[in-house]
Amino acid sequence: MGGVRFDRVTKLYGRITAVKDVDFDAADGEFLVLLGPSGCGKTTILRLAAGLERPTHGRVYIDDADVTDIEPKDRNIAMVFQSYALYPHMDVGENLSFGLKMRGIPTDEREKRVNGIAGMLGIEHLLKRKPKELSGGEKQRVAVGRAIVRNPSVFLMDEPLSSLDAKLRVQMRAELLRLHRELGTTFLYVTHDQTEATMLGNRIAVINNGQVRQIGSPDEIYRNPVNLFVAGFIGTPPMNLVSATFYQKEKTFFSLGEAQVGIDDRAHEALIRNGFHVGDKVVIGIRPGDISAGLIETKDEPSLKGTIELVEVLGTEVFVHVQTQVGVLTAKHVGNLSFRVGDAIRVSLKQNAIHIFDPETGNRI
């Protein structure tokens, strides 16, 4: 059993920086999800943990031991690849037992463990088949089986569910959670799917451009995104991000088109501390759920008028995209009014739910 720790790890390919100053610590038994858009470097981080890539700078620790210079085979890790990487010339049983064989485990022991795992995953009937005779879901199970049969101290998973159809993905997600609970092993899990990340992870590390942008529990990341990237990346539909100006009359407020969004003392203090002056621009973020769309102006909330551009029905939830003076705002609609594209409407913002960001650095204020 063991955790995984990255200490300021950087990976360069020639002049291209794939991973930059990555620092994180996945505790023993934790399910840590690396979440980010494609090409952000999350897979490279996983491969660095596996030992398939060697960092240009920094150290990698598994179970508190420095493994930076240790070959993958000596790291006691197992990996599930995006393409599953099942050996096409071996049958399922041989695929499962290959790792044990390479570690010199005797045949009868191998057989016992392979059969145990096959039973656990419900693939006993597939043991004599070749990978090309398996369906996508079956391949996925075999790939997972191949990883757990070795009883490693860390599991590395590279988008293991991405090539499954939606229904199977939901089912496998639940199964991975069950596995994690039963095995109690550290999981390092790469995905670009935030639903998957939020469902699976104890913590999520949001990655962009090779850097960890924020690391925290799914809830924390959703509620308190520390920068514009995380704010814009997490949440469906994404957070509304609009430019506003910092003003002061009797009170301080942000001017957002015709609306005036009040600033509480804490936020005001933070603005001053960060060197903002009256007249400066900031970026205001507000989740669609914190905007309501209606026909009349609400007295105590700042509101903007606009026209409906798009009505998006996602199951039971309805999102309205409204063109306003400051750009398109997405609002979650809760009432039972029916909207049509082109209707004039007012959107009201929940004042205490706004997030304030520095437009220069992108950091939260």
Binding site: A18, S38, T43, L52, R54, D69, E71, D158
Partner: protein, 265 residues
Amino acid sequence: MKREQGPGGFGSGRLTTNFKGSGIYIWMLLPVILLETAISLYPTLYTFFMSLTNATLRSNNFEFVGLSNYLRAIGDSFFRQSFVLTLIYMAAAIVLRLIAGIGLALLLNKRAVSATVARGSILVPWIMGEVVVAAIWLWILDHQTGLLNALLQVAHIPPQAWLAYPTLAIASVVWVALWRNLAFSFFIQFAAIQSIPPDLYEAARVDGASYLSSLRYITIPLIKVPILISFLNGELGYGAALSGLILLGNLALCLIYLAVLRISK
């Protein structure tokens, strides 16, 4: 053959690095480098070096004579003639083999039994030795006792001296070379054509392409590399002892070929 580059390419399918650096890869290259240096490169350089001297097989003493061997060769009308004939032969053999290889590969790219047998039959001359091929064709083409003239006789065509007149002789030699060496070119093109995904042709048909334009815009561009390979594995290096000049001819041909490829790209 191109690898994905740039930040977008970091997702998957990239080269694997090894812990001990690149050491193992260099070791893996060693046998080929040793083999080719000792058996191909060194003799080539040696030949070139000797071509600049007046060495003979019988004596150990020689001195540098610069390019005079080459000048003598160029001055020799017999050499000039054989050089020109060699070039004609090479150009004809290579071009015909390419065309025949592609043409037959397109023709025999079918499931029919006859096509399968025909593919197998193309392989047969290639595995017959050069000596056997030469002897058999010498006999078939013989002016007096040859099979071909016997067949012509049946069709009431007067017998031809296939190997006596320069034009006919060159044509005969080109034909025999084509017959024997077709297999390599054919199989490479055939394999390449077979591995072109059929949806490409379907897409082209939906886009309104005729048979010829899908040949022009899909098949040929996708088999460029096999064309190059069958070209490189052609007659190059064969047919002349004075390889220096032949080499120049080959290089010129190769450059022209590469230029054409680039234009068509």
